[in-house]
């Protein structure tokens, strides 16, 4: 048997070493790849990057650079993290993103306004209703278009159901990262209730493209409300089940409590929003702070934490599910009658039956489908509370039927900055728990 093991070429040794100066901070790409190997552990650590930790010159520490991702079970997609480990302790974290960059924002510039909705939905792929909503809101602002009350309520119902579905998926995957495998299937079981409702109202389970500029695509079908109410009835008992499985489990509590604490000021300085910020006790929720889409009509509370540890993040999200259930119930109770989309034929398609009798309707239909609607020049930014925080959309219009620029402020991207503060100098297991509690969606980060 040939000794193929310990003969890694030695020329990469100097290259993988960290030297001074910002340019040499990261070795060239190929050499970084090589530095993953442990080949010459017995002679000279190829992989060891020497970083002064506590400034102690006499401290002989050997650090190990480890490549977490892009294909790693716990990085929730294709997040790549270059971690420097000292034993089991994470000393340095460098998130590298861009592995699922799809160029959605650029692609939107080549689509008519109403076609771009399909694109933006695919950014944060667990919160598609929110992406569509914030984009439509910006375009509606530019058009000065009023959304009918029924459409606003339908939007709220779908967004809150989406929030529940998103939080449930987060709960399942986060618990899986901690090792509670059963939780994943339990959470997905309830998420399916939500997806069934989406399928019934729009024909799709994911990326429904239900929201239109000026309203929603279709009214909810008969029987939808009853089905939704059944789902709402089931949910509280199921949430109690989750709490029985997790909150009364000593291991779960020990893993969650007092880990990944970041101070409120630091999170605010980093621009972090959403459950991460609320877990520290800051009651910042755009649904209350700047009500949009009739959110002012509903009675609900903003759950906040106290310490800002992983346990608070978990509790805040679970409480948010309960609040969302309340909002959906109120919205169903008070669902106003009326049109589900604006009657402005320049923006929204005319009803199908009008096409047979009205020449006007036919012309509007033809113009809308072939070239879309024109938006007066200007720019608009709107922001809503997505399951992960403040989701903003900037649209620049140049008067044509296509947006000149679409940019999203995605909460996952901004929140990812806090990962270093959360996970540094903690054990690998806690660091993984922090990623899970951060709830990053890579589709939203890379866009």
């Amino acid at each position: 048997m040939t000794d193929g093991g310990l003969d890694t070429p030695g020329e990469s040794q100097s290259g993988a070493r960290r030297t001074d100066g910002p340019a040499a901070l990261l070795p060239p790409y190929r050499e970084r790849e090589e530095s993953i190997s442990l080949g010459t552990l017995d002679e000279q650590p190829v992989s060891g990057t020497e970083v002064d930790i506590d400034g102690g010159p006499d401290r002989e520490t050997e650090l190990m650079t480890i490549n977490l991702g892009p294909h790693h079970p716990a990085t929730h997609g294709v997040l790549r993290l270059l971690c420097t480990l000292e034993g089991e302790v994470v000393r340095d974290i460098k998130p590298l993103i861009g592995y699922v960059h799809t160029g959605i924002e650029k692609s939107c510039e080549d689509q008519e306004y109403w076609k771009a909705i399909t694109f933006v939905e695919r950014m944060d792929y667990l919160a598609y209703y929110f992406n569509a909503q914030v984009y439509c809101m910006s375009v509606e602002t530019l058009l000065e278009e009023e959304v009918p009350p029924r459409a606003q309520y339908l939007r709220v119902i779908h967004m809150e159901l989406n929030r529940i579905a998103s939080h449930l998926f987060w709960l399942g995957t986060a618990a899986l990262d901690i090792g509670a495998i059963t939780m994943l299937w339990w959470a997905l079981r309830e998420r399916d209730l939500m997806l069934d409702l989406f399928e019934m109202s729009s024909g799709q389970r994911l990326h429904t493209r239900y929201f239109q500029v000026g309203g929603v695509f279709e009214d909810i079908p008969p029987g939808w409300e009853a089905k939704c109410r059944r789902a709402l009835e089931v949910m509280p008992a199921r949430l109690d089940q989750y709490e029985a499985l997790l909150d009364e489990n000593e291991i779960w509590l020990q893993r969650m409590k007092n880990t990944g604490i970041v101070a409120r000021e630091e999170l605010l300085a980093l621009g972090v929003t959403g459950p991460l910020l609320r877990a520290t006790g800051e009651p910042w929720d755009l649904r209350k702070a700047m009500p949009y889409s009739s959110y002012g009509d509903f009675q609900f509370r903003i759950p906040v934490g106290t310490v800002g540890d992983n346990y608070d993040r978990y509790r805040v999200r679970l409480a948010e599910i309960r609040e969302s259930l309340k909002i959906v119930e109120q919205a169903l109770d008070g669902l106003p009658e009326g049109p589900f989309i604006t009657s402005n034929r320049k923006v929204a398609l005319p009803p199908r039956h009008e096409l047979a009798t009205s020449m006007e309707a036919l012309i509007h239909h033809f113009k809308l489908v072939t070239e879309g609607f024109r938006v007066p020049p200007g720019e608009a930014y709107s922001a809503i509370e997505s399951p992960r925080g403040e989701l903003g959309c900037y649209v620049l219009a140049d008067g044509s039927a296509k947006p000149s620029r679409v940019h999203m402020r995605d909460p996952s991207f901004v929140n990812l900055q806090s990962l270093k503060a959360m996970g540094e100098n903690s054990l690998i297991a806690d660091f993984i728990a922090c990623i899970a509690m951060l709830d990053p969606i890579l589709g939203g980060i890379d866009r």
Partner: protein
């Protein structure tokens, strides 16, 4: 132990060989059954069906898995030490199977003659169990280190620390049992719990020892919630990250055999081994049933508990289980002297 007359040594050796083959063959058949059971039960715990495509109700799924693993390439990273990487799963399997030899399934003569329903009755039974349990960790460390991957390396380090820590606790937890039975032989321990002795299963007087043994047993076999060496969320797959094909399968098989071994030792030491109602010939049935209950418990725990953190694992091992086990031994010793 004279069998069939003339030359006792030759006969005994022959019988031993037959026993060894029987145990090995039976266990090889039991592992896929447990595998299927685990996957089916986990499915039920998790609101899904589990495997149900291959064979009637998915019964042939483990065979399909093994066939798949056997036909896969055993890849070796360029940074690995190939011969060490190849030998690690072998050590893993050998140490697990070797421990099976001392698990008593029935008393001598239960099925007629002088035949004892166990591989061997070594007078140092418990030490034998500890010895092979300690050797098993060479498989993890060698496999993890020789893979030449950082994830494997971290997993190997974790398993080394974990197995050493819990080896101490598991040893002390069984010491009370050994003191009460007055022997290290598993056969003697089982007999001490029978009607001939005090007639009480050691799980009652040694309840603390039993709890410690079970907790440490989970850690010994690297099963959840102590599956840190291969914690998939953190270390991808830990020490067996770089393994593929049947070498990978061997590690898994060793883990399941380890579960059987822990169940067997727990049955013998705490649940009265072969003792149960009915004629003596039914002895193996009781042992298998009790072991089965333990295996179910292992699966149940896997579906319920999250994973511990590394420092919590060490804390539990050294600061909770070890003092408790020591105290248990002390109290047992004092009570034995007094009564």
């Amino acid at each position: 132990m004279v069998l069939l007359g003339a030359d006792p040594v030759v006969e005994t050796t022959l019988v031993q060989i037959v026993k060894a083959i029987v145990i090995f063959a039976v266990i090889l058949q039991v592992v896929p059954v447990i595998l299927l059971l685990e996957r089916k039960l986990l499915g039920r715990f998790q609101q899904r069906y589990g495997p149900n495509r291959v064979g009637p109700k998915g019964a042939l799924q483990p065979f399909a898995d093994v066939l798949k693993l056997l036909s896969k390439e055993s890849s070796t990273p360029t940074t690995a030490v190939p011969w060490m990487m190849a030998i690690a799963p072998v050590i893993s399997i050998v140490t697990a199977v070797a421990t099976l030899a001392i698990i008593p399934f029935g008393p001598q003569g239960a099925w007629g003659g002088d035949l004892g329903l166990y591989g061997i009755d070594v007078p140092i039974g418990l030490l034998y169990f500890f010895a092979f349990g300690s050797l098993a960790f060479y498989a993890f460390v060698l496999g993890g280190w020789a893979s030449g991957s950082k994830y494997s390396f971290l997993g190997a380090m974790r398993s080394a620390a974990q197995l050493i820590s819990y080896e101490v606790a598991i040893g002390l937890s069984l010491l009370g049992v050994a003191m009460m039975a007055g022997s290290l032989s598993l056969v003697d321990i089982v007999e001490a719990q029978g009607s001939a002795g005090k007639g009480i299963w050691f799980v009652v007087p040694q309840f603390v020892g039993f709890i410690i043994f079970m907790v440490a047993g989970f850690a010994e076999s690297s099963r959840p919630p102590f599956d840190l060496p291969e914690s998939d969320a953190e270390l991808v797959a830990g020490y067996n990250t770089e393994y593929s094909g049947m070498r990978f399968g061997s590690f898994f098989m060793a883990e399941y055999i380890e579960v059987i071994v822990i169940s067997g030792v727990a049955t013998a030491c705490f649940l009265g081994g072969w003792h149960g109602p009915g004629p003596e010939a039914l002895a193996p049935l009781w042992v298998v049933l009790k072991m089965f209950a333990f295996v179910l418990f292992f699966i149940w725990i896997r579906a319920t508990l999250p994973r511990l953190r590394y420092d919590q694992l060490m804390f539990l091992g050294w600061k909770v289980l070890l003092p408790l086990a020591t105290l248990n031994v002390l109290v047992t010793a004092i009570l034995l002297v007094v009564t």
